[in-house]
Amino acid sequence: MTPQPDQGGHFGPYGGRYVPEVLMAPIEELAEAYLAARADPAFQSELNELLRTYAGRPTPLYFARRLSETLGGARIWLKREDLLHTGAHKINNCLGQALLARRMGKRRIIAETGAGQHGVATATVCALLGFECVVYMGEEDMRRQRLNVFRMRMLGARVVGVSAGSRTLKDAISEAMRDWVSNVAGTYYLLGSVLGAHPYPMMVRDFQKVIGEEARAQVLAAEGRLPDAIFACVGGGSNAIGIFHAFLPDPSVALIGVEAGGRGAGIGDHAARYRGGAPGVLQGAYSYVLQDEDGQIALTHSVSAGLDYAMIGPEHAWLHDQHRAEYTAASDAEALDAARLLSRTEGIIPALESAHAVAEAAKRAPAAGGKLFLVNVSGRGDKDIDIYRENFKELDQS
């Protein structure tokens, strides 16, 4: 496969730049600044130092012995991004972009957040570097992830509730883009996933690909061979692209992205873009998006706020069409079951998002004797305790 994206940010036909003209020159400036930073050893070394001493990299690759034995089949390894500072892989990207913002002379950072993990990571790096921080969050997500709302405020960020549309991630991104359009001169938009206009999908991937680079070396050291399959959940798809990327040249490694299957197959009941989505333009990029026959973006549902988004990142659309990665979906119920399974067999309470990846691995493991699975545990489940309590009522009896 040829290296992607091209100069205009296209992964095959996907990606590109679909934003109002007001943002075009700033986004060109961002791309130039990013390419210069990427080539600058001083930038990379400062980032690596922060990843090591502040975020907690490298994260362990852990053999899930009891989980593997319980399922009886594949040997399952877990990439422990949940052990990072702030509790998810999001910090990898936030540190990179915050250093870039400082390099560009921006002092005000805005971000969107769904589950709140990206918002918390953004608020964290803003506290670290002394930036003003505004996080847009759908009111529905504020309700279901209220612990993260408080964490952001404690870190000094202003959390702005968004009441438009479905009051979830999509609406938070729209509101962040409106802020950016209005305050473009001094503001840096710290986008949290491999979405939006070029260079974001490429840049966020670059900041997340450390996950796969570490995992590849770790699994080779531990098992002496490459894994047979890698599982990661896919909302926008930043943790998935992060762990997939180092394995793209290895054709023997199956890359499996797990979307949110939600509560049913109908439009509005899930966020599985390959189950009813079609290529279209949303919030800066061309990719698979759930939409109706008039091109209106569909409402989505997932028990997991971080996967509850109508579009998949453009590089995933490309990997899908090239048949280099395979995409499937786990339902709300399957994710909840998987979260409980991992908690009880390994003592690891995963984020609901990551539980989707665990669910798919658990589904396939029994028939995969002798195979090596690698699951990206992209975040920890502390933020989801309220939702787990609602769903596991029997555990809440005294």
Partner: protein, 267 residues
């Protein structure tokens, strides 16, 4: 040449300035739009932008966002907007410009839309989120069917980008008066002047300025510098405040007349 080109020729010949009026088609319901457009024209609107509602309008402020929500709730889609245009065209020669986002257009089909829009009497199209870099197929389809393609230039646009915008635009170039989303403002942005001068040095196309214009004083000031001025959110807000008011059309007509007086010319 479309009705848009003929309009600007006519304005130049007569030494007049044009008032461009935006409304969201289908707000509050598709069957109401033709009468609202007629009221705009009676008040003196020289060109009407028909907004096609989109679920995720990233370039719009709250007023036009709410109008889009009302229109979508009333079942407005591209087909309904084309039917509205056809009805207006049966009674008026006012130039009509579709104003929307790319996704509803892609979903309808570029060539199919260009063909159907031309047949419905629409004169051109403006897509707020189609950058010139991504607009090749769209522009080709529109031009194939004789429609104008209007692009936006903004205070942030570099000279290289302004040249591209001018190159891809036909009919006129739409200048965004300030960085921000659509919506009324008390005063005009200082960014408009330099943008107008820079674009003037690049192109002979007529220039229109929009975003944040809501008062006759704004129209007066910009009318001295460009061929046309666009008013959108102020009209949409008037519609919103009078959804069930029988005098809505009369109020709309007199507000447009008042705005047009800003040019110092009686409609």
């Amino acid at each position: 040449m479309t009705r848009i080109g003929r309009l600007f020729d006519c304005l130049r010949r007569d030494g007049r300035k044009g008032l461009i009026a935006y409304l969201t088609a289908g707000d509050p319901a598709p069957e109401r739009t033709p009468a609202l457009v007629e009221a705009l024209v009676r008040g003196g609107a020289d060109l009407v932008e028909l907004g096609v509602p989109f679920s995720d309008p990233i370039a719009d402020g709250p007023v036009i966002q709410r109008a889009g929500e009302r229109a979508l709730k009333a079942g407005t889609n591209m087909k309904a907007v084309l039917a509205i245009a056809e009805e207006i065209r049966g009674r008026s020669e006012v130039p009509l410009l579709l104003f929307t986002y790319l996704n509803p257009v892609l979903r309808y089909g570029l060539d199919r839309l260009a063909r159907d829009a031309a047949a419905a009497g629409i004169d051109g199209c403006l897509l707020t989120d189609a950058s010139v870099e991504e607009a090749g197929d769209y522009v080709a389809a529109m031009h194939r069917h004789g429609l104008d393609t209007v692009f936006l230039a903004a205070p942030t646009s570099t000279e290289r980008r302004m040249r591209l915008v001018a190159q891809y635009s036909t009919g006129f170039v739409y200048l965004v008066s300030r960085t921000g989303v659509t919506g009324e403002r008390e005063s005009l942005s200082a960014a408009a002047g330099p943008l107008i001068r820079a674009m003037r040095a690049i192109t002979d196309l007529p220039l229109a300025v929009g975003f944040g214009i809501s008062k006759p004083e704004h129209v007066a000031e910009l009318g001295r510098q460009v061929e046309a001025v666009v008013v959108g959110s102020a009209l949409v807000r008037l519609i919103e405040r009078n959804l069930d008011n029988a005098s809505l059309e009369i109020q709309l007509e007199s507000f447009v007349r008042e705005l047009k007086h800003g040019f110092g010319v009686r409609p």
